[in-house]
Subunit: 398 residues, 4 copies
């Protein structure tokens, strides 16, 4: 049976998208195990989502190297085996042929965005139309039931929420007037929603999280999920912080240092862009511990490390009778290998949510995100419970 669900990457030739594509091909061909695939655990599989083999992959990107070349580079960096990359070479070539040139600049605008020339395609309105056409073409070519748009493009800096970004009607007027009010990630999300596609924001970029975008999703009856995949230090934090809280131990400071290379590391080496990430990383701790906690949070680019992230955290806490103690951890993970299966999980679960008619931000998917949209907290165990309960309900549907 032919695949029925489309998975459309924004940033389709990036490390995360390439690893997810390699993985989807390898899983479909039975070349690898399902390690890391949350959706294949019984409690989540209960939702009856589409299988990985049911996914047709395409996407937008603005950069040069082909998927097979990107895969080779990732294999050289140890993200997966050289043999595996070779085994899926032909599949990668096929997916690569479905990648369309994306939108490289958010166009002429009044202030906060920095691109100085107009968008390559004229106004943002024109760009939206082109993106929507690409999505519709993909759906038609593969006779897909639905297409899930997943943003794994380079992180953008945060934006100020102007009136056009707060209110859908104001946004529509601005676009109609030929203005360029949207940051790129939100331009993609806007086009996706307009084309009837659910959205997954795996990056900390604004994307669907601007109020005007949320209103559009609601109006279109579309589900979406975000934001910023929780794959390393923040994941560990969300497992550990509740331990301190439920044991009534007072965390006095929590320092977080991250070293990483790769494309993502390079983007986050820009201090303004990094604030997007440090903001989403920082949010959960206060909520989980019940009070704000002191301590630095750095992300440092070290070219040498490639896709391999090392995070070191130092937690200083106080126990009974004021006794001071501490805990440190070092996390040495491969970022793309951690992110890729989650991207497949999210596409499958959001597809299932769309199928059963859910709409708006899917709080039950908070388990996957640093900065969960919708209802729900940051603690991992609570998120797991919310996820599995939701999956149970979804599985009962239809």
């Amino acid at each position: 049976m032919a695949p029925k669900t489309g998975l459309w990457f924004i940033g389709a030739r990036g490390s995360v998208a390439t690893t997810a594509t390699v993985g989807a091909l390898a899983l479909t061909a039975g070349l690898t195990r399902r390690t890391g695939c949350v959706t294949d655990l019984a409690e989540v599989a209960a939702a009856r989502p589409p299988g990985v083999a049911d996914l047709a992959i395409g996407g937008h990107d603005v950069a040069g190297d082909s998927l097979p070349k990107r895969a080779e580079a990732l294999a050289d960096g140890g993200v997966f085996g050289v043999e595996l990359a070779r085994a899926v070479h032909d599949g990668l070539t096929r997916v690569d042929a479905r990648i369309r040139h994306g939108v490289a600049s958010s166009g002429p605008h009044d202030g906060q965005h920095t691109g100085s020339e107009g968008p390559d395609e004229g106004t943002q309105r024109d760009a939206v139309e082109r993106i929507s056409r690409d999505l519709a073409g993909f759906r038609a070519a593969h006779a897909l039931d639905r297409v899930i748009v997943v943003d794994v493009a380079t992180t953008e800096p945060p934006v100020d929420v102007t009136p056009e970004l707060s209110d859908l009607d104001a946004l529509e007027r601005a676009l109609a007037a030929g203005e360029s009010p949207l940051p790129l990630s939100s331009l993609y999300a806007y086009a996706a929603f307009r084309a009837g596609c659910p959205v997954v924001a795996f990056t900390p970029s604004p994307g669907p999280r601007l109020p005007a975008l949320g209103q559009l999703a609601e109006r279109m009856g579309l589900p979406w999920a975000g934001s910023d995949g929780k794959t390393g230090e923040t994941l560990v934090k969300s497992a550990l912080a509740p331990m301190f809280a439920t044991r009534a131990l007072r965390v006095r400071s929590w320092a977080s240092y991250n070293l990483l290379g790769g494309g993502d590391g390079r983007a986050l080496a820009d201090p303004v862009t990094a604030t997007s990430k440090t903001a989403t990383k920082g949010k959960g701790l206060t909520e989980m511990l019940g009070e704000p906690v002191d301590g630095p949070l750095h992300i440092d680019y070290v070219d040498d490390l490639g896709d391999w992230k090392t995070a070191w955290d130092m937690v200083s806490f106080e126990g009974f009778l004021g006794t001071r103690m501490s805990m440190q951890f070092t996390w040495q993970g491969c970022d793309s290998a951690l992110a890729a299966p989650l991207v497949l999980d999210l596409a499958r679960l959001v597809a299932r949510a769309h199928q059963v008619g859910e709409s708006g931000p899917l709080g039950a998917l908070g388990f996957f995100f640093k900065d969960p949209a919708g209802e729900g907290g940051h603690d991992l165990a609570g998120q797991w419970r919310a996820l599995t309960e939701w999956c149970g309900r979804l599985g009962g549907d239809r």
Copy 2:
């Protein structure tokens, strides 16, 4: 209003008991904060347990130094402030006067116990009587509603479960015949149950966990809880292992090293005794991860470290497409400061359970233990939920 609940320590002059006693006095006098006191978190306080100020403390020990002297030594080691120890000096002297000489040897026996002479008090039956008398005397002297017996004595080696230890009637016959079938911790538990007292097994010693003892508790309609307080590395494990499991990451090995000094460290430096502890420490991982996991587990005695434990764990795991990653943590905690508030928590919650008529092993208290007796798993978040739900029910009672 006078205290209504008795807290009777086996090992009343040890580090844990002394710290708990200092803490209870300091809290009652308003000299310190409730940091580390789980029972004072809203979700647990919902059970309406007795307050710390409602506890009258006494106990058994077999060693020399008085409580004020022990407290001074602990303050010198940094477990709590020198000033605090001074401030509660008089209270400690009063509690010290209530400490009775315990049972130092399990008596003459057929094989497995190593004490070569008879019990100082004759047969185990005589010892039971003496302990029960001490408990009854304590209850009467302070007009207590109930007395909770908490074992914080030196860890014992594991025992083979003989027929006398498996069946209450066989046990009774052996005791009646003047035999000494019980390890010391179980002798205390036996006497406590006989005296109508609930028991908390904070050590990994056999205590109430032998089948014959469980039958006795059931017959007497008494609740009990155990075993082995979860205060450091195992605590962290129970917060972290579910993270790997719910993210479908395959743990390949988990190495655990513990360095500690103090009396507890000295006892565990004996390899046979240590198996009690390494056994209870190891149990949870397999259950939480769904498969057995390779990796050494050591407890090493380093005199220099005193009551300060350093644990280092190294987790090697596999993610998507077989990628190998790792996580390490270092835990630097003060063992007695971590254990002491839990001991107060347990006494208060078990007292409340007794009041509302619960009996048998209290699985809902698994949150506090390395090797939980009764129903329930090892993962900390699940244990927290079970605890708070139970507390909600208890609070509704009467």
Copy 3:
């Protein structure tokens, strides 16, 4: 016999100076061991420096709390025992009475210094005179052979080396003209040299390191040593980096993170001031490894940590056949306890150098510094050898 050597602190009520003073009093009274005192190791004692008991202590500061109060606060923070602080209380009061009000602002000036008002004392020339008078008064009052001035005041930001700071004659003209060309640390060093006193720059501030000051020391025939005491992470680096170099292992990146509280931490929380420290900390690695090495270097202020510094370093290196490996370390040290004995060592050794007629920057003292002035490299073992050879020569003198 009365003390013959004066030790004059700039920053006499800071953590380092207070700890050094407590230590000198405790050692003199036989209350503590010589742990941490390099000068009492045989190879260094060979230089025949004055003993700790031969030191008379005084100094300048601009802040309020008395030495006994500062000592109490440090004892509360665990830098030394509460009892010890009490035992030397009277001695501290005596030293405190010898502390003079220092110079709080570098005065009116043309640009780079930020103090907006004039120096409390008028021109820098006036300030120099006042400082010199204080030094002469101290020498006379205690009939001292010599006075060593040790800068342990708050770290200053770096300065641009203007012509007045590069050339002694230009400097003299500017001072004569009522200008304020000198940063504060160099103002103190200028006054010290003018008063015939050797100088130890324990901070990364410019102090005696400006060319004009070096010329002055030379002209006066005075020895000096600096700069920035090597007490933690940089110390470890200088022991470890040569291991990689002599084993032909290629260090690819070396990340250094520092967490500390205390007054020093607060000063270094200012990013401009911190560049003084990060500059001196970074210098050695390139020299020791033979090539520049990538990697971040942060110093973060965490109030909660007080005088206790935690540093975490991550070294990524390459071995035979390109194999990638790594090493991490965590250093948990008490900054003032590490610095204080070195301050006493330096005063004693510089006094001895002065006695035997050495002048200019003492490269043989590079062992003690992050950024050694004078001849010599950064590797610790080489510095140790240079130090002990020099001490051997000094001991032979006279």
Copy 4:
């Protein structure tokens, strides 16, 4: 020009020997950099040793897999690149053809050795002859000036030093009488010396270190070096311990934990064999710190880790005024990649020593060993100095 120096491995198909052989071939073919090769640093190259391209490699082993197969397995484990292994495939096949079957059992004997049957070749005397013949054949076939025998075979358990092992004449008598007094590593060393070959003991096995063997080397005028390559934790210790010593900091405890897989890990999982290693690892600390230091030392086998060793050390130390501090480090190294270049270094330097007529234990090579034979201490910087001074002298020769 044809190679002039033979390098004969005992354990020629083990991980270390295979990696060294791959490296020698790759360096000769210009396929890799000289990272990790100490002998190519200017100060050591000054000795004018033979080049890597001047080495002809052969050896003994008793196990099955061919060198190309072993290399493939090591490449899969990440020790070096898969491409590199392929590039040297033919060279490996050629070396493999020169590997002779070694001696698998030390033969019938009086007590301490555990092999129950006779040596495969009859008496130890016969075995010696066979080994010597193999060495002579290798030298002749390649017209070599000399052959250096390097023991990188499986670690043996320690032996009791019987009279035959203490005195050469007693040993000769026992061998002549058909006895089997020698442990295998010493049997090989005996045969090598008899054949006029210098020996390098890269393992902690007894090898040439038994007194009788030392006498034999002396009598034959042969140099030898050992023992137990210093490649990981002990290397770091020898860089760090002098830091504590020269700073007069008192180390209170030093705990050392090692996790490793691979063949070496498996051998060391045997507690008796492990004592060979823990003994050589432990020796240096006392010497470097000037007093014995408390703390556990474990080597644990974790299959999953393969050739990758993780060591964690925790140093607890005391500074000025008794302040307690600590340092931890984690070393994550590839054991064979660390050992292999040292093996080449040692063969080249011992060949040069032989050429210039040195004999006996070469203390100047202590830099390379955990348990240096001959004169010299354990501290790395001192060993480096001794090595480079010796190299300077050797370079001047002839």
